[in-house]
Amino acid sequence: MKKSVLLEIEQLSKSFGGVHAVQNVSFCVRDQEIVAIIGPNGAGKTTLFNIVTGILPPTSGSVLFKGMPVTGKKPYQLAALGITRTFQNLQVFTNMTVIENVMVGMHTRLKTGIFSAGFRLPQVFKEEKQALKQAMACLEQVGIAHLAFEKADILPYGTQRLVEIARAAASQPSLILLDEPMAGLNPQESKKLVDVLLAMRNNGMTFLFVEHDMETVMAIADRVIVLDYGKKIAEGCPEEITQHPDVIKAYLGEEEGASC
C-alpha cells in the first residue's frame, strides 16, 4: 500500500553566482517514511536542506507540503505548518532546562500572548500545566524524562541531541528534518538514537535526513536519495543504492573494479 505524499520537491535549483549547488532535484517523502539524502562532500545536501527548511530561497523550483506550496516560507512559518528540524551543530538552548527547551518546541501549539502572559490570565496557568505534561511525554518518548529539570548545557553531547529531537517533536509536526543526526555521537549513542527514531516512526512520524554515516542510513532509511555535484544521481531503497553504478562511481571515483 502506498502512503500519501507529504513533501514534494519539484525541479529545485539553487545557484550561488555561477556555482550550481543544486540542479533540478525532484523527489518526494511519503507519510511515515524515513528518507535519507546522501552524497559526497560538496554534493549540495546542505543547500538542499537549507532550502527545504526555509533558510535559503531556491533559484527555481518549488517545495510542496501536503500539496500546498511552501517555497520561500520562513522557518517559523514552516514550523506552524508542521515541519521542524534539528541541527548538525547542536542548537540546544543552553540558557534553559531540558523541559523548557521542549516547551519552546511547543510554541506553535500554545496561544499565550504577551498581554495575557503579563496579566497572568487564568487560561495561561492552565496552558502551562498542559504544556508541561505534554513536554514530559515528549521527553519520555526519547527516554530522558529523568533529566527534565537539568540545565541543558551540562548534558553530554548525545543526550543534547535527544533533547533537540524531543524539542522538534514537541509540536507534533508531520515531518522532522534531521541534519546529520549521528554527527559527533559515539556508537552507543548512535544506536540509541536509531532506536528512538524507529520508534517514533512507528508512532507515525516522518523523517527526512541528511547523513554521512552509511551504517545508519542502511539501518533506518526506507529510501535514499543520492546527490552528486548538485544533481540527483540515484534514488531507491538502501540495497539498490549500494549496487547502483553511478553511486559507486561518485563515492569511489572512476577506478575500475572498485567495490564496497
Partner: protein
C-alpha cells in the same frame, strides 16, 4: 514524582512577598526621613526602567544603548501635556507610553534586523538623535534651559506632592512592573524570548517569530521607560535634556548589568545598588579628594561595570538568589534537591554567543 508547573519556576515567592511587605512598610516607620524616601523614590523610577530593559537584554538578549530616549519621551510628553495643554496627568502618561511604543516600533523594525555591534550602534545613534531633539525643539521642550513648572500628578482630584505619597505611587508602579515582567517570563512568551537569546536559528525553526517578539519586548521596555519618565517629571517638576542623553542610557545599562540579566528582580537590585552607591560616593569622595566634582563617581561605575562583567557575568541577583535558596533549603531541611530556579543563567548580557 509529581508534575507541577512550580517545578520549572521555583521562584522564591516567600522572599518576594517578604520584600514587598518591607518595601511598602518602610515609609510608615521613616515617614519623616525625606532623604531616605527621596532616595528610594529614585530607586523606584530606575527600577521601572531597568526592569523593562532587563526583559529586553537579559531575556531576549538584545542590547539597547538608547533607553533614556524613551524615559525622556515619557517625561516630556507628560510635562508638555499637563503644563501647556491641561491634560490630566494620567492621560498624559498614557499618551507618553503610546508615543514611546510607536517610536520603538518604528525604530525597531529596521534596527532588529541588525545584530550585536550594529544593533548597539543603531540604538546609540537613536538615543543621540532623540536627545538632540530634546535640546533643539525649544518650543516644546524648552531646550537646554529645561522645562519648568510641571504640575503634580493628581489622584482622584488630590495632588500627590509629599515624598510619602509619591513613594507609594512610584513603588506600586514598580512592583506591578516587576510582577508583569515575572508573568511574561514564566510563560510561552518568556520561553520564546529566552530561546531567541539561546539560538535564533533554532528558535525560528521551532515556530518562534523572532522579529515579532523582539519588537514586542522592545516596545514593552519602551513603555516601562516612558511611564517611569512621566512619573519622574511630575516628581521633580523640572526636567532638562541632559537627564535623557547617552550617559543616562548607559547608567540604565549599568543597572541591568549590576542586577543581573536573568532575573526579573535584577532591575530593582541594580537600581538600588546604583542609587545607593551614588549617594555613598557623594558622601565619601569629597573626604578623600576634596576638589573632585560629582562627575568623579563615573570612575567607580565604570570599574564596577567591568569587574561585574568579568567576574560575575550573571549579576548580583544571581548570587543573591543562590544565597536565599540556600537559606530556605537549610531552614526547611528539604530532602528533595533544589531545582533550578527561574532561568538564573539566562546568560550573560545580550547578544549572540
Amino acid at each position: 514524582m509529581k508534575l507541577d508547573v512550580k517545578r520549572i519556576h521555583t521562584g522564591n515567592a516567600k522572599w518576594s512577598l517578604l520584600f514587598t511587605v518591607l518595601l511598602l512598610g518602610l515609609p510608615l516607620i521613616f515617614s519623616t526621613n525625606n532623604y531616605l524616601l527621596s532616595t528610594l523614590i529614585m530607586v523606584g523610577f530606575y527600577t521601572i526602567v531597568s526592569t523593562g530593559l532587563t526583559l529586553l537584554m537579559g531575556y531576549a538578549g538584545q542590547i539597547s544603548l538608547g533607553q533614556a530616549a524613551f524615559y525622556g519621551i515619557g517625561a516630556y510628553t507628560s510635562a508638555y501635556l499637563t503644563a501647556h495643554a491641561g491634560v490630566s496627568s494620567w492621560l498624559a502618561m498614557a499618551a507618553g507610553a503610546a508615543i514611546a511604543a510607536m517610536v520603538a516600533l518604528i525604530v525597531g523594525i529596521p534596527a532588529f534586523r541588525l545584530r550585536e555591534h550594529y544593533l548597539a550602534l543603531a540604538t546609540l545613534g537613536f538615543g543621540i538623535i532623540v536627545f538632540t531633539f530634546f535640546k533643539e525643539w525649544k518650543g516644546i521642550t524648552g531646550g537646554l534651559n529645561g522645562f519648568f513648572g510641571i504640575p503634580p500628578i493628581q489622584l482622584f482630584g488630590f495632588p500627590l506632592q509629599t515624598d510619602f505619597q509619591f513613594y507609594y505611587l512610584v513603588w506600586i508602579f514598580a512592583l506591578i512592573g516587576v510582577l508583569f515582567a515575572r508573568n511574561i517570563v514564566r510563560s510561552r512568551v518568556g520561553r520564546a524570548l529566552l530561546s531567541i537569546h539561546g539560538s535564533e536559528i533554532a528558535a525560528n525553526s521551532l515556530g518562534v517569530n523572532i522579529t515579532k517578539y523582539k519588537l514586542q519586548i522592545f516596545m514593552i521596555s519602551a513603555v516601562y521607560a516612558s511611564v517611569a519618565g512621566s512619573l519622574y517629571a511630575h516628581y521633580v517638576t523640572f526636567i532638562n535634556p541632559d537627564l535623557f542623553g547617552i550617559v543616562p542610557s548607559i547608567y540604565f545599562l549599568i543597572m541591568v548589568v549590576i542586577g543581573g540579566t536573568g532575573n526579573v528582580w535584577g532591575g530593582l537590585i541594580g537600581a538600588a545598588v546604583y542609587v545607593c552607591l551614588g549617594e555613598l560616593l557623594k558622601e565619601m569622595v569629597p573626604m578623600f579628594i576634596p576638589n573632585a566634582g560629582g562627575e568623579f563617581e563615573i570612575v567607580f561605575f565604570g570599574l564596577l561595570l567591568v569587574i561585574i562583567l568579568i567576574y560575575m557575568p550573571n549579576g548580583l541577583s544571581h548570587s543573591l538568589s543562590k544565597v536565599l535558596k540556600r537559606v530556605s533549603s537549610t531552614s526547611r531541611h528539604r530532602k528533595e534537591p533544589i531545582l533550578v530556579a527561574e532561568n538564573e543563567n539566562a546568560g550573560s548580557v545580550g547578544g549572540e554567543h
